[in-house]
């Protein structure tokens, strides 16, 4: 059981380290990624959303195109 728990801690720890330590480090180290992070934060864009109704910017785009094309 102890070995199983160790396995859980190591696997979960590796995932968390990758996402919450390595990726922030990568973001801070690469200028374009850092700018992108700020941009997403300031504009409230969530890249994890996969369908159009989940993304506010889609409605905004639809409205814009409706206004300029019609």
């Amino acid at each position: 059981m102890l070995q199983k728990i160790r396995k859980l801690v190591v696997s979960l720890g590796a995932c968390l380290l990758f996402v919450y330590v390595f990726l922030p480090y990568l973001t801070k180290s690469v200028d374009i990624l850092d700018r992108m992070a700020d941009y997403l934060d300031n504009n409230g864009i969530d890249p994890t959303r996969y369908y159009y109704t989940d993304v506010v910017q889609v409605k905004e785009s639809e409205n814009y195109l409706n206004t300029v094309l019609h």
Partner: protein, 587 residues
């Protein structure tokens, strides 16, 4: 996962028509139960918003705004300030602001966003909310001041154009330009205002209530399928807990930036548990992946509106609805004939995921062809990795080569998998790029209904028939056909008809802003995250590795996506710059 309960005849030319469908399937089979549950939620949402919602009040306000817009359109050759103000008044109308909307939104909340403290995903105190609002206030005040100043300039420019009876084109152009600046300043002020309206919350009681509700609705379905309600309820608490933690982990800002949302965390967290300490046996009866997915897909049907296809005219149809099926079919054929993919279902799920719209298409395709959960996991994993890379690399490449914004936007919209990532990449390239990219993606999103139906039909009539080696009759085809796809299509048709008959203003306010965003979508989100948590909890790493053997799925994705990139760029160039340059000029 192909059904094997039909009779097998020795002579392959004999038509088999021994489907075992019966009336009791309607209340005993998962596919039908997913349809009933989905439609129950849809019916409640529609009744609440259209029967008891502020329909008449909205109708009056929309009519008043449209009257102003008609008068302004008759007066000036461009859209005036009053026209835009009326348009903004219409946009403010949302059914989800009604009492029912607030109630259902509150009771379906999931853990929110956070940056440094995971507890922020669940609880925010009054003091924290006030501090956040105070911090954001100076930016808002500045943005508000700028917007007011630009509005004054726009009013002055419009008055000058009006004084010349809107016949001086230079004055008209100046008015159009300043009105556009005002719109842009208003947008910034609106975004800044949003950051000053943070409220305190505690989602824990909400999550407990939601868990109980979900146990009841899915547990009732389990009982109808002659499975134990109690065993399901016990295990479901763990599945729900994993889904909740997945929402929390996926809500962190950097995790979101790279596209690792709740769905990805659900699978990952579940798999880590399953492959380390092992998923307890009593949890497995609650890992009803297909039940959650099918119900979620029926609800997703409410968001597949066919009117969206025309959002950007014919160029959009060619980029999203002509290129996409060509890429899907070619990738599938390439996978079968050249790569000799060992699994047809894995092949079609990756092909749909890569060519249509990522996760949602993968879910729909996997359910339609009865793919294994490992195949869905693998396909979504590939999509997540490539989405994160393409979201960053494509705008950088487009900027570096000096490609026009609209062409770049159309290219990204047609190729990057997830809609959120498309919006992010488009916005990073420029405002117009985002408008085009997000709209192309939206048109492509609508294709998942047709994709799921065609895959289900092809699998039932060709793939499973070939596997069995006999011709099958209509009864057998009906028996094998995944019925939930019909629920998915029925929801799509119902909402598309409602959308086209009630007018854009009312549809935006009560259908999209009410029944969907204040109803079906809230639960659809949860159902998909629950299904991913359940997939993770019941997936064995070794099983998953077996599907990746030889790297064929990766090769398939890379080859298909490369073809997609070339074809989409070519089509976007032809459509937006050679055939319809007037549309590009207007954007």
């Amino acid at each position: 996962m192909a059904p094997t309960d039909s009779s097998i005849a020795a002579d392959s030319s004999v038509v088999i028509d021994h489907g075992r469908s019966s009336w009791s399937d309607l209340w005993k089979k998962e596919d039908y139960l997913a349809i009933w549950l989905g439609f129950l939620i849809i019916a409640i949402s529609l009744t609440a918003y259209f029967g008891f919602g502020p329909r008449e009040e909205f109708a009056k306000k929309i009519a008043a705004a449209e009257q102003i817009q008609s008068a302004e359109a008759a007066k000036a050759p461009f859209k005036t300030i009053a026209w835009y103000k009326a348009e903004n008044d219409k946009k403010k109308l949302k059914g989800s602001n009604s009492a029912f909307g607030k109630f259902i939104t509150h009771w379906t909340k999931h853990p929110g966003s956070w940056k440094t403290n995971p507890a922020d995903a669940f609880i925010r105190t009054d003091a924290q909310a006030k501090a956040m609002n105070q911090k954001a206030m100076p930016v808002y005040e500045e943005a508000k001041g700028k917007a007011a100043a630009v509005l004054a300039a726009a009013q002055q420019a419009e008055s000058a154009a009006a004084a010349a009876a809107f016949k001086d084109s230079a004055l008209n152009d100046a008015a159009v330009a300043t009105i556009k600046d005002w719109q842009s300043a208003e947008k910034k002020a609106g975004a800044a205002k949003g950051k000053t309206t943070n409220k305190a919350y505690n989602y824990i009681p909400t999550l407990v209530g939601l868990c109980v509700f979900l146990v009841v609705i899915f547990g009732a379905g389990m009982a109808l399928m002659k499975k134990s309600f109690t065993e399901f309820a016990k295990g479901f608490v763990i599945v729900f807990l994993v889904a909740t933690l997945a929402y929390m982990l996926g809500g962190q800002a950097i995790s979101k930036q790279y596209g690792f949302g709740a769905e990805a965390w659900g699978v990952l967290l579940g798999m880590v548990i399953a492959n380390s300490i092992g998923t307890p046996r009593w949890v497995l009866p609650a890992c009803q992946v297909e039940f959650f997915i099918k119900t979620g897909l029926v609800l997703l049907g409410a968001e597949v509106l066919f009117s969206k296809i025309l959002a950007i005219g014919i160029p959009g149809i060619f980029v999203a609805w002509v290129v996409t099926p060509i890429v899907l079919v070619c990738t599938f054929i390439f996978g079968q004939t050249v790569l000799k993919m060992p699994s047809k279902t894995l092949n079609v799920v990756i092909s749909a995921d890569m060519s249509v719209c990522g996760t949602s298409a993968a879910i729909a395709a996997a359910a339609a062809c009865r793919a294994k959960k490992e195949e869905l996991t693998l396909s979504i994993g590939l999509s997540l990795v490539f989405t994160a890379i393409m979201m960053i690399a494509m705008p950088a490449f487009i900027k570096a080569v000096g490609m026009p914004e609209i062409l770049g936007g159309a290219w990204m919209g047609g190729t990057i998998d997830a809609t959120g990532a498309v919006a992010a990449a488009g916005a990073f390239l420029g405002e117009k790029a985002m408008y085009v990219a997000a709209t192309i993606k939206m048109i492509q999103n609508v294709m998942i209904g047709v994709t799921a139906f065609c895959i289900a039909l092809y699998w039932t009539m060709r793939v499973e028939r070939q596997a069995g080696g006999q011709d099958v009759g209509a009864g057998e085809i009906w028996h094998r056909f995944p019925k939930f796809v019909l629920g998915f299509l029925a929801a799509s048709i119902l909402f598309s008809v409602l959308d086209s008959t009630m007018g854009k203003g009312m549809s935006d306010a009560l259908l999209n802003g009410g029944a969907v965003k204040g109803g079906t979508k809230l639960l659809r989100d949860w159902f998909f995250v629950l299904s991913f948590a359940a997939i993770g909890l019941s997936t064995n790493f070794r099983e998953l590795a077996k599907y990746f053997k030889g790297g064929k799925p990766l090769i398939l994705y890379v080859c298909g996506q490369s073809f997609n990139l070339v074809l989409t760029l070519t089509m976007a160039y032809i459509m937006f710059y050679l055939v319809f340059p007037e549309i590009t000029a207007k954007i």
